[in-house]
């Protein structure tokens, strides 16, 4: 590499345009010596015309493309817009062998190709416990009641019409499954950031603070210290939420996501938003809220979503997603095009508040540099970080380490395992390492 004329956008065609498909694959596989030869071969094969054009400049500039010399499409050809036909590769994907039933499974968000902090709604990760439905909003109801009549003056029922008349809030928050990165507790298991960290998304949600609804029903905060949230799907998923998070105004019932209604896979027409807390508590297709005086030990807080510790005890009601970060570009399963400058980019988040700082290491954690945070940095939301890097073609190990506003520093695998062992399944927030080798290939490794 290094020959400036051989690069896309230089005075040659891009590799994809003049290498055979097989040769392009060889580039992707990191076979650089092969690549050098094939440039020569391809140049020879295409002979005179390319050389002649190259003398004048880039054919992508000199030969006006059809989009510059013809009439384009009219408005509203796609009344609901869709991505470019060239953007067919970043999709929600399942991890083979992780689950055996699609209705109780996960699809991972393609973090490796996303920008900024907002997840496109169509790429938001999915986790369903008994399949998803497209619920008729006209027949959807939210009921609020108490486990004891004394906890609430008046149990109430709200329609969607009514909920959408109430004062609303719009807030950007991340949602992360408690089992995100759970495949990696013991060892490296999956190749890309989509599968290591893709049970993570971030959206602007719009809805009504649960506090407002509970007070509208006349809740007695002194007696009712726990909230049960329940879904309208077949599983009628339930989780216990602490009343403190409702009282401080953070928890809300959301109908909006990124400017439109929630997608069916994400709980249309109503879901709970519990900022900073693992996704399972953000009950989808929300049909009922019960206030009570003790936690409920539901299936997803007594059989699943419990964290096995080395002493044989399971931690129950683990909810907060602790401070975490990951570099998304470059990341596992990608290959760098060449030596030279790269904008290393990633995301950081904390269930305890705002991100204060993100440091990046290129030598496996011996030395660190502070990355740039893209603002505004928001409470319990993804924060994008960027840092410049000149790759010299030598092996490197890239890591990111986030610090939140409480001062908590994202731990290493060694630190985390020392306390929690390797069988916890849930709440793995260790520093992620990506190893770069001479070919430019990036792979997933774990550094203690």
């Amino acid at each position: 590499m290094g020959d400036i004329d051989n690069k896309p956008g230089r005075l040659r065609l891009a590799p994809e345009n003049f290498l055979t498909e097989e040769q392009v694959r060889a580039v992707g596989a990191g076979r650089r010596s092969f690549l050098r030869k094939s440039f020569l071969a391809a140049g020879a094969a295409l002979a005179a015309p390319i050389a002649a054009r190259a003398a004048d400049g880039d054919p992508a500039i000199l030969e006006l493309p059809e989009w510059t010399t013809s009439l384009g499409q009219p408005v509203a050809v796609r009344p609901y817009g869709t991505p470019s036909k060239y953007e067919s590769q970043l999709l929600r994907r399942e991890s083979p062998g992780l689950t055996r039933v699609g209705g109780a499974s996960v699809s991972f968000c393609p973090l490796q190709g996303l920008f900024g902090i907002i997840t496109p709604s169509g790429l938001h990760f999915e986790r369903h416990h008994q399949g998803w439905h497209d619920i008729d909003p006209a027949r959807h109801r939210l009921m609020i009641n108490g486990s004891d009549p004394a906890f609430l003056k008046k149990p109430k029922v709200y329609t969607m019409d009514e909920l959408m008349r109430l004062p609303s809030v719009s807030r950007i928050h991340f949602i992360e499954c408690g089992a995100n990165t759970g495949l990696e507790w013991g060892n490296v298991a999956v190749p890309t950031v989509q599968y290591t960290h893709g049970m993570l998304s971030c959206s602007e949600f719009t809805g009504v603070p649960l506090k407002l609804l509970l007070e509208d029903c006349g809740v007695d905060y002194r007696k009712a210290r726990y909230v049960l949230a329940e879904g309208a799907d077949g599983s009628s998923m339930t989780r216990t939420i602490p009343m403190e998070m409702v009282e401080n105004g953070e928890v809300f019932v959301a109908y909006g996501m990124n400017g439109e209604m929630l997608r069916p896979e994400n709980g249309y027409p109503l879901r709970l938003v519990v900022p900073g807390v693992q996704g399972v508590s953000w009950v989808k297709w929300l049909r009922r809220i019960e206030v009570g005086d003790q936690p409920y030990a539901t299936k997803d807080e007594a059989v699943h979503y419990i964290d096995l510790q080395p002493n044989g005890l399971h931690r129950q009601y683990t909810s907060i997603q602790e401070c975490k970060s990951v570099i998304t570009t470059p990341s596992g399963g990608q290959t760098l095009l060449d030596k030279g400058f790269y904008n290393v980019s990633g995301i950081a988040w904390s269930g305890r508040g705002r991100i204060k700082q993100v440091d990046v290491s290129f030598d496996g954690g011996i030395n660190w540099q502070t990355a740039r945070l893209e603002g505004p940095v928001q409470n319990k939301a993804l924060t994008r970080f960027n840092i410049g890097w000149v790759w010299d073609g030598k092996p490197a190990i890239l890591q990111s380490r986030a610090i939140d506003e409480t001062g908590y520093v994202q731990p290493t695998y060694g630190q985390l395992r020392k306390v929690r062992g390797t069988k916890s399944i849930y709440h793995n927030n260790a520093i992620q390492s990506w190893k770069v080798v001479e070919s430019g290939e990036v792979t997933n490794v774990q550094v203690l």
Binding site: M143, K223, G333
Partner: protein, 348 residues
Amino acid sequence: MSRFSKSILVLALAGASTAGFAFDKYQGIGRQATTAEVAAWDIDVRPDFKGLPKGSGNVERGQELFEEKCASCHGSFGESNEVFTPLIGGTTAEDIKNGRVGGFVKGDIPQRTTFTKVATISTVFDYIQRAMPWTAPKSLKPDDVYAILAYFLNLAEIVPGDFTLSDRNIADVQKLMPNRNGMTTDHGMWPGAPAKKGGIGNGGKPDVKNVACMKNCKAEVQIASTLPEYARTAHGELADQNRSFGPVRGTRTLGPEAAKKAANATTLELATKNGCMACHGVAGKIVGPGYNEVVARYKDQADAEGKLVAKVKNGGQGAWGSVPMPPNGHLPDEDIKTLVRWILSGAK
């Protein structure tokens, strides 16, 4: 002050416990739930058995019900690991005595089953009642749930074979759960009040402490684990899971031959998932014709693909005998085309 806010003041004063906030403030929004409505939806059962419906069921009845409604996923004895993780197994008489599952204490448990983990039988009652069976949730009567639970408890050797579980003895049974003392809430990941203030966590104190060292933080980099070769290719062609331009490319993990094979494997999954493989063999008849027979008959016909797509979509009878092929109109056209092309290309 408007009349509206005066009425709020009156209400607020009337209810001392809710004084200072907005009870019934939003006129015309929400209405009181009826008793029947609350009863229809309020089905949760807590660890103290609040919400538990009256009823009973014995082990024998539970076994019948389980075989009929549950065994296809969970296996006849709740031991199956085929569809879901096992329900029963991994607990001992000693565990029932101690309330701690020895396999967790010693760290040598081969498989975590529901009964190795769950501390509260209320959880299992609640979940079966609200979510089971898988394809017909909420179709079980309380007596059915008691019976199935009695069968579980017998399989786990917690109760004898002639046991009848009911709302009157379930709290006693909970005191025998093998992992009843196996839970802790002494951690920093509960965002509510700590145990010392009537809550359940430690008040949010983290268990791990890293420091933000910046220079020469360690002498060497210790790599504990790298990506195994099988895991590099287990997620398919990574080149196709990244944008085709930009600073990086997805790494080509499979190559053209393997990528083609993977695409066919996906089609086989599609065929399996949609039940095609239950009646058709790749190389021979099962109930319907083998794909090799289909290819032999159709390969020289004009628009074989179009004809077969129509057959799959609309079903048919007579071409291959009297057993009808059911219509598959619920499948997307694209999937049907993919399946037909795959069949015509030899289903490999």
